[in-house]
């Protein structure tokens, strides 16, 4: 095990967070940090806007859609924050927590307990009561359709259709959910340190096991051929190019270290994955040859957020200690 020799640490500038970074995103050109204390900070150090998205609350979950950040809080609210700092309350589930959140093309979905809700771009809200608490939500790439992760499987729901959602069954507790960019596969992370996948066309099951810890970060490559995952002492990258996805194939391992991978984010244009670790280190790893470049030295807690801008020129790194930094790749 060798630490990477190439380094981009000279191109890293601190961002002012001061609180556990729950999520990060670029709102247009502005880096934005969603913090556990209910605040969203927009902009670079010195000129930051501080937005009280969830006053007196904590931000539990974060999603991004176009130029807006969406936050779900333990105050029961779903808030939409735009680059200029404007906050719009999308939903208010009084007295409950927002457990999961997803957004795409002006549509927003959120869940509180077993209740899942979808709001389309026109503002029409549809609801569905899942068999048990909904832990993960993801929009499928085609059509107005959602994947919901819960106990004993996932459900595929067309909010505008009267039909019962399609049940994808697999025993156990399913946490986060994601759909492949071509819409052929739905993948969940599970309580039992494993991923579970279904081919949507025939509900065929695939198990992806061998993780020493829970996978809580999932990221697709820009071409949709690879799924990068956290939960091991390396970034585990599963191949999804072929019609059977990863069935019968092994994953690739990137950034092998003696620290747990906590966050992953694929570059939006290249087969390069940003990896964050439980010891605060972050690096970039090129998939073809596993070449590594150091982004952030270890220290100050665990990496809890990684986000690229739309062109892949800048990367936000956020930690649970309240440390955060902005990497600008040299031109």
């Amino acid at each position: 095990m060798t630490e990477p020799t190439a380094s981009l640490t000279a191109h890293l500038r601190p961002l002012d967070a001061g609180e556990h970074v729950v999520g990060a995103a670029f709102l247009g050109d502005e880096p934005a940090l969603a913090l556990a204390n209910g605040e969203v900070r927009i902009g670079e150090a010195g000129g930051q806007k501080r937005v009280a998205a969830h006053p007196e609350g904590a931000i539990l979950t974060v999603a991004r859609d176009g130029g807006a950040l969406l936050t779900g809080g333990d105050d029961g609210r779903v808030a939409q924050i735009s680059a200029d700092g404007r906050v719009v309350t999308i939903a208010d589930e009084k007295g409950r927590w927002i457990d999961a959140l997803a957004a795409r093309g002006g549509a927003v979905a959120w869940s509180a307990g077993r209740q899942a809700h979808a709001r389309d771009a026109t503002g029409a809200v549809k609801s569905f009561v899942a068999p048990s608490t909904v832990r993960g939500l993801a929009f499928l790439p085609k059509g107005y359709r959602l994947a919901l992760a819960h106990y004993n499987g996932a459900s595929l729901w067309f909010p505008n259709a009267a039909a019962e959602p399609t049940a994808l069954e697999w025993k156990g507790s399913h946490l986060d959910v994601t759909a492949s960019p071509d819409g052929r596969f739905v993948v969940t992370s599970m309580q039992e340190n494993a991923l579970h996948g279904w081919r949507v066309a025939d509900s065929r099951n695939m198990r992806m096991t061998g993780y020493p810890g829970k996978t809580r970060a999932l990221a697709w490559s820009h071409d949709g051929h690879w799924l990068a995952t956290s939960g091991a002492d390396a970034c585990i990258v599963w191949p999804f190019k072929d019609k059977d996805g990863p069935m019968g194939k092994g994953p690739r391992e990137c950034g092998v270290r003696s620290a747990r991978v906590t966050q992953v984010a694929f570059h939006p244009r290249a087969l390069v994955v940003a990896i964050g670790y439980s010891d605060g280190m972050a690096l970039l790893c090129r998939l073809v040859d596993a070449a590594e470049i150091l982004v952030r030295q270890p220290g100050d807690g665990a990496v809890t957020a990684l986000a690229w801008d739309s062109t892949g020129a800048r990367l936000i790194v956020g930690l649970d200690s309240g440390a955060a930094a902005l990497l600008t790749l040299p031109a």
């Binding site: 556990a36 931000i59 927590w97 457990d99 156990g172 309580q191 039992e192």
Partner: protein, 347 residues
């Protein structure tokens, strides 16, 4: 069993509050939330509305119990608890402890097992104590007809015997003896309207097991005790000098075994693992403090059904007798076999 370094000081203490329907859990919770004790608690309740206090840190739970896919038949956990504790960690530093209220009919095992099974929960929180509120008037009856009530007593680190003003002195002694017959190791408090000092309930560090070596229930050494047969009652007071009645519960027992001197870890670890794997469904709780040969530190462990967790604790003090003691509470446990098993682990 895993041996980890002692980082428990930073972990948030969690108190599990159980008790059969109507015993007085809500009264106790409202007291904890309203009295000026200088501590702030996040409370996970099973039903909103019962709590009369407006508190931003009261969270509703769903009691969603599920089986782990790990081949362990009795390994059920509370999924909602994992999710809620993950969320509460976003407010870390804003509260001193977590209280989990369970429904009156709940088995405490899934709650307790959650703290063994989930890596993230284990990292963030530690089970401080299982506190069971019992109704002095009705508990004896419930122990006969409600297995949940018996489980709650067996699991307890602290029993609050509530509504003692509604029973006679004789009835009180009777119900206390029945509690002791199931679980002689719990700290027992008498209360009216749950008026027990909050410090006796919260942040007890009961799972630190410090009391185990000291507690030696007197009546375990006395042979002539009552046997409680449900069909033909022949309860009668033997009139011991200290006035405590002695019951042997046919269904649930506690067994303790003690060994002077050191144990061999290469014998003890396989023994305790095999015992809890084979007898896990019958063993509700186990705890112990162990002197391992050549180890200056006391090894402490605790378990729920098949789940075991242990770690080296403080060093044996100068002048302190190095000895090992294990305690099991469960059903159909064979005392002679367990004692012999422990003795065979001597170094």
């Amino acid at each position: 069993m895993t041996a980890t370094t002692d980082a428990s000081n930073e972990k948030i203490p969690v108190t599990v509050l159980t008790g059969y329907l109507g015993a007085g859990k809500t009264t106790l919770l409202n007291r904890i939330l309203s009295e000026p004790h200088g501590r702030k608690y996040a409370v996970i309740v099973n039903e909103f509305g019962e709590i009369g206090i407006d508190n931003e840190l009261v969270v509703g739970a769903d009691e969603e119990v599920f089986e782990m896919n790990n081949g362990c038949i009795c390994c059920t956990v509370r999924g909602d608890l994992i999710r809620i504790i993950e969320g509460l960690m976003k407010r870390k530093g804003k509260f001193d402890g977590i209280i989990v209220e369970t429904t009156g009919l709940a088995d405490p095992a899934p709650v307790a097992q959650t703290f063994f099974v989930d890596e993230d929960v284990r990292e963030a929180a530690r089970l401080d104590a299982v506190v069971t509120v019992a109704d002095a008037k009705w508990l004896s009856q419930r122990l006969r007809d409600a297995p949940e009530a018996k489980n709650q007593i067996a699991f307890a680190d602290v029993v609050i015997l509530n509504k003692t003003d509604l029973v006679s002195a004789a009835e009180l002694r009777e119900v206390e003896a029945r509690i002791r017959g199931i679980n002689p190791y719990a700290t027992l408090h008498r209360a009216e309207r749950c008026d027990v000092a909050i410090a006796e309930v919260l942040e007890r560090r009961a799972f630190d097991l410090d009391r185990i070596l000291e507690i030696e229930p007197a009546f375990l050494e006395i042979d002539d005790h009552d046997h409680d047969h449900d069909h033909h009652h022949h309860d009668h007071d033997h009139g011991h000098s200290h006035g405590l009645k002695h019951y042997h519960d046919e269904d649930m027992q506690s067994i303790s075994a003690r060994l002077a001197g050191d144990l061999d870890p290469d014998k003890f670890m396989p023994w305790i693992s095999r015992l809890t794997q084979e007898r896990g469904p019958d063993i509700l709780r186990c705890k112990g403090i162990v002197a391992f040969k050549g180890d200056p530190k006391r090894f402490v462990f605790q378990g729920v059904h098949m789940m075991l967790d242990g770690e080296p604790q403080r060093e044996w003090k100068a002048g302190e007798t190095r000895e090992s003691k294990v305690v099991f509470i469960g059903r159909n446990l064979d005392e002679a076999t367990i004692r012999a098993g422990l003795l065979a682990c001597a170094a």
